[in-house]
């Protein structure tokens, strides 16, 4: 098999295992078994475990960029694109309840390990933040764009964390709906309000 193809398979298997079990709890042997290779042969493709992690982060960055581009292509209006982000919570609810958010849990694990790649993993959040801010800018909320983007990130991360703990699907749906309602209140045509003052 071509080395690049094997490398891709390893990276994808590691991606899934790192998500499901965590980075540290996943061993070379686990990944090898998932791909169907011998343990020892790994050294040929990846010198160290950190190298696999690097490849996994690269893969996730590429996948995230592609997903964001897909959302942008799938909706003409920025509001619809932001709703695509919110709906991700519902679409991935099973995985979230079992293993949390792939980005958030990886970042927190790498932070605890004080791993060199922790900042690279945090760039995944940066991707979402910047893309969401871009949508809010397109909605004429240029001044608040990043703050509004971070508000959505905060809420989705919090929802993921609590959904993992309580494993409550209704909770996810209700909170996602609440985010959509919040978004509707931030849309143009309505009075611009401070993000955090619900009503006066």
């Amino acid at each position: 098999m071509a080395a690049t193809e094997t490398r891709r398979q390893i990276t994808e298997a590691a991606d899934a295992l790192f998500y499901e079990r965590g980075f540290e709890a996943t061993s070379f042997a686990d990944i090898a078994a998932a791909v169907g290779l011998s343990r020892g042969n790994f050294y040929y493709h990846f010198k160290t475990k950190d190298e696999i992690l690097e490849a996994v982060i690269d893969l996730r960055m590429a996948n995230t960029r592609a997903m964001l581009a897909g959302w942008a292509a799938g909706a003409d209006e920025p509001a619809g694109r932001i709703r695509s982000f919110i709906h991700m919570l519902i679409a991935n609810r099973a995985g979230i309840m079992a293993h949390g958010c792939p980005v958030g849990t990886l970042c927190s694990e790498l932070a605890k390990l004080d791993h060199v790649a922790k900042d690279r993993a945090a760039e995944l959040f940066g991707l979402f933040r910047d893309w969401l801010a871009l949508q809010f800018s397109a909605l004429g909320r240029g001044d608040d764009a990043e703050r509004l983007a971070l508000h959505l990130l905060v809420r989705s991360q919090g929802i993921a964390a609590l959904a993992t703990a309580f494993r409550d699907e209704t909770f996810i749906r209700r909170e996602a709906a609440a985010m959509e309602t919040w978004l509707a209140g931030e849309l143009p045509g309505l009075a611009k309000s401070d993000l955090s003052i619900p009503n006066a």
Copy 2:
């Protein structure tokens, strides 16, 4: 030394190490070194690592109850008590940026390991949820109390997750202030609004 005292020291050392490094990444040897005991002697106090985890969760439950009772005693008004919860984010900002929220990160790690104690760890969230709901009930928001409580939990968990990734202290302070502003909007005297419709 009395066995109960040694047990307490072990539990406290494990509590800190589980928070800083994570449950799996912390070994018997790490805890033993922190307490100043020999590795082998652990078997006398704790048969298994899971037993230590159980003791740590018990300790955190007790500490959390004490903290909540302290907040209740420290403020006569429910709003002030809720603000104590929000201020916890700022008081613990250094730890949060380095290691995340102790409750959230433990729950997500145990979920990934599919550990038997994952539900017991989730009860820590239940403690905060119920206490916050009690305060909102006292504010006359009985119908929405649990939903409002979960909203605060969602936001604080999200803030902790992003603060760990970005390690931005200003972000924590700004989001904590936004939560206080949101709280003010939910207080009696102002028009009762739906949680998720900021303004109309």
